[in-house]
């Protein structure tokens, strides 16, 4: 007993020093997951990572992997905290055959940026992340796939224009932006100003201090300003509170447009009836009618291997985002295999795959994801990949798609992004990557 007592700490220490026991095989393609299943953002974390794992599972069970290469993953809990994310990164980065990192947290992504660039492994920040990482000439390994915050802003303004009958009709209209009082919330302030000037609508931007559980004064101001639309750039509890406060102040809910982090079931259900008619932007539709979801339900959940504890959440916004993220990761691996061979790829080879991740609507249909998301067109210098957005309206039970796929105004935004990324390159003393550099892949 006493020997065991003395040995136990040593054994534990030995485990930690040895980097833990892993079940990863060298001939697999590996996805280390910095997931968050506890803490304030667990709803997003369980849905997203659940969807991602469900899709990887589907590929393994249905296809036997990607061209015979099995997909594996390991999870580390971050609770959405940066230092826990760094610990998990350090712990898992020695696993063999890593394809890409997907932290779903801008803070953790920032902390890993130097590390993954040195490791030459791609870092995927789908629908979020630092806007200027879109410029692949400066950030070779960072991919804010589908939608960066600037494109989101442009997409929302274009949708309002479409509702009003064209961009011309925006002239003289008034839009209020209610944003979360955090770095994330403030990121789009200059872009709204730019678009207001370009299209001639007037603009009020109102801050809601974190966490946003009290918004009476902000909605009083909105009542005085009488805007035609309110854009909700919220996060967490701020979203349902905004919707119920709007109802109390008599602002019509169908003139409130939510952004990409105000678009989930968890954002609307607490608001009850006040949310019926609320519209929000998304890059991936919700619902389970898409073939890929039907296959996940049949193959993965049917075999009792589904990742979501609550099966009612299958097809929810975050779950579908995880599935789309899975599709993009797997297809990048497949595209890279087409060039480098059907084997375990290095991180840099997968990076090449992401830089050629071009999925036409036809290819998306083949993947069973038609209307789940539109298409993507990533190149070496455009790491966002021109994702289309759509708008969904809450009917009290579920989200219904109410628009076509809408393209943000990428040409307008690109010079602003390049200005920021080139300033970063100058600050860090980096030379801009060319297409020839991007073809240079380390084994």
């Amino acid at each position: 007993m006493s020997i065991f007592k003395r040995l136990a700490p040593a054994l534990l220490a030995a485990t930690i020093l040895a980097g833990g026991v892993t079940t990863v095989h060298a001939d697999d393609q590996h996805f280390p997951l910095q997931s968050y299943r506890v803490g304030p953002y667990a709803a997003g974390g369980t849905g997203f990572f659940g969807g991602f794992i469900d899709y990887l599972n589907l590929i393994n069970t249905r296809d036997g992997g990607v061209n015979g290469v099995k997909l594996t993953w390991s999870e580390g809990e971050t609770e959405y905290e940066v230092e826990k994310g760094v610990e998990v990164y350090q712990r898992l980065k020695t696993n063999p055959g890593i394809a890409a990192w997907n932290p779903l947290s801008v803070g953790i992504a920032y902390a890993m940026l130097d590390g993954i660039t040195a490791d030459k492994v791609p870092l995927i920040t789908i629908n979020h992340g630092r806007t200027d990482t879109t410029d692949g000439r400066v950030f070779p390994y960072a991919f804010p796939l589908l939608l960066n915050p600037y494109s989101e802003t442009s997409g929302i303004v274009n949708y309002i224009a479409a509702k009003e009958g064209g961009l011309e009709a925006l002239k003289g209209k008034k839009i209020a932006v209610l944003y979360h009082g955090s770095p994330y919330g403030k990121e789009t302030i200059p872009i709204y100003e730019l678009l207001a000037e370009k299209y001639g609508f007037s603009l009020v931007q109102i801050e809601v201090p974190h966490p946003g559980s009290e918004q009476q004064s902000q909605w009083l101001q909105i009542r005085q300003e009488r805007p035609d639309y309110v854009v909700l750039r919220g996060w967490g509890v701020m979203n349902p509170v905004a919707l119920s406060t709007a109802q109390r102040n008599g602002f019509p809910v169908d003139h409130i447009i939510g952004n990409v982090w105000s678009n989930s079931e968890e954002d609307v259900t607490p608001a009850g009836d006040a949310a019926i008619g609320y519209t929000a932007i998304t890059t991936q539709a919700s619902g389970k009618e898409y073939p890929v979801l039907q296959e996940i339900i049949k193959t993965v959940y049917g075999a009792g291997q589904g990742n979501l504890a609550d099966q009612a959440r299958i097809g929810s916004v975050y779950h579908n985002l995880g599935i789309v993220n899975g599709i993009l990761n797997v297809e990048a691996v497949r595209i890279a295999q087409g060039k480098f061979g059907n084997r375990t790829l290095t991180g840099d080879e997968v990076r090449w795959g992401f830089e050629h991740l071009q999925l036409t609507p036809e290819r998306v249909k083949e993947l069973g994801a038609e209307n789940l998301f539109h298409s993507i067109n990533v190149t070496y210098d455009n790491h966002e990949g021109e994702g289309y957005v759509t708008f969904q309206q809450w009917d009290g039970q579920k989200w219904n798609v109410v628009s076509d796929w809408i393209a943000p105004d990428w040409a307008l935004l690109r010079p602003i992004i390049e200005k920021s990324s080139e300033a970063y390159a100058a600050e860090k003393g980096l030379t801009l990557r060319t297409e020839a550099d991007a073809e240079n892949v380390s084994q």
Partner: protein, 340 residues
């Protein structure tokens, strides 16, 4: 809570040998043999939090002023160091770190003013103001983060006298040297007459005033010094450990974490901060490895995390019941048993 914890009967050799061996191990063996994971995920946060604990221990342990604003001073230090490095190119890194400490000291001085009138819980509540004000100011004014779109900034590359410290070992040695120097300084301070003044203020302010201790000046000075050390810890946290700075990372949770380090480690001891930080940093990792191995596939990651939290809380309660004076007192008992 003794003034000098060391065994007075020990000879200078036996007293200094463990320290020398420890330093040799830390400065030479660790960079040579330890893996990236040990340095990046364990030793760097351990050093930064130890240093912050040391700073808070001066204020709370030695002088008896409770503060809940530690994370705010860490943030001031981190953002000051970032702006100094970014805006004044030619400034050598040690100088920017020192100036960042001075900036934190200035902010600490301002928020230390209420301590002249308030005590105990009331002072703790007033230091909360620092916590909220600093975080608000850093988010509100873009200048602090150089107008970075998302407010999160990347740390600049680290150079001392032309030598790059960007590698794992370089950052570790930078953090270790800074921590070692400051620890030496604090050790000299607390065994000096000034250290006695601090304890006099803690134990009985009126009596301290009667025997000629300048109470007000001592309180303000210790607020400034403690904030400076915590500020430097913040700079190490941001530059050497995370390589990124975001205001939300320095929230109230971090302040509590530092306070717990001091309480668990042992109030009014230098080594207490290190022992407490070791427990707070390393124990959860060991625990998560252990549950990960023991319950692999049995429960999902979320449930495991909650089990870990319950267990961690229980261990801390058990420690404090067994020895209210913290890990430092437990260590003293163990060493006494061996040297006897």
């Amino acid at each position: 809570m003794t003034f000098v914890a060391d065994n007075p009967l020990a000879t200078p050799l036996t007293r200094h040998l463990p320290l020398a061996a420890g330093l040799l191990l830390a400065f030479v063996a660790v960079p040579a043999f330890a893996s990236d994971y040990v340095i990046e995920a364990i030793l760097l946060p351990f050093l930064a939090l130890s240093l912050a604990g040391l700073g808070l221990n001066l204020l709370t342990g030695y002088t008896g002023q409770v503060s809940l604003g530690s994370a705010a001073f860490m943030a001031v230090g981190a953002f000051a160091a970032f702006n100094l490095e970014h805006r004044i190119d030619w400034l050598p890194l040690p100088v920017s770190i020192l100036l960042a400490g001075l900036t934190a000291a200035a902010v600490g001085l301002v928020f230390g003013l209420p301590s002249l009138r308030l005590r105990g819980f009331y002072l703790a509540v007033s230091t909360l103001a620092a916590q909220f004000f600093v975080q608000w100011a850093l988010t509100k004014f873009g200048w602090f983060s150089n107008y970075s779109a998302s407010g999160i900034i990347s740390a600049p590359s680290l150079h001392v006298f032309g030598i790059s410290l960007d590698g794992t070992a370089g950052r570790y040695l930078f953090a270790l040297s800074t921590t070692a120097l400051i620890t030496l300084f604090v050790h000299r301070l607390v065994i000096s007459p000034i250290g006695a003044n601090l304890i006099a203020v803690r134990d009985n302010e009126t009596a301290a005033r009667v025997i000629g201790v300048p109470v007000l000046r001592t309180k303000l000075a210790v607020f400034a010094l403690s904030s400076a050390i915590i500020g430097i810890a913040g700079a190490i946290w941001a530059f050497a450990y995370l390589r990124t700075v975001e205001p939300a990372g320095f929230n109230l949770d971090r302040s509590f974490q530092i306070l717990f380090i001091v309480i668990i480690g042992g109030l009014a001891t230098v080594r207490g901060a290190f022992l407490g930080a070791a427990l707070i940093v390393i124990f959860p990792l060991l625990l998560s490895r252990f549950t990960g191995l023991a319950f692999d596939g049995v429960a999902d990651a979320g449930v495991l995390k909650l089990i870990e939290r319950i267990f961690f809380g229980a261990v801390i309660i058990a420690f404090l019941i067994a020895e209210p004076n913290g890990l430092s007192a437990i260590l003293s008992r163990i060493t006494r048993r061996f040297t006897r």
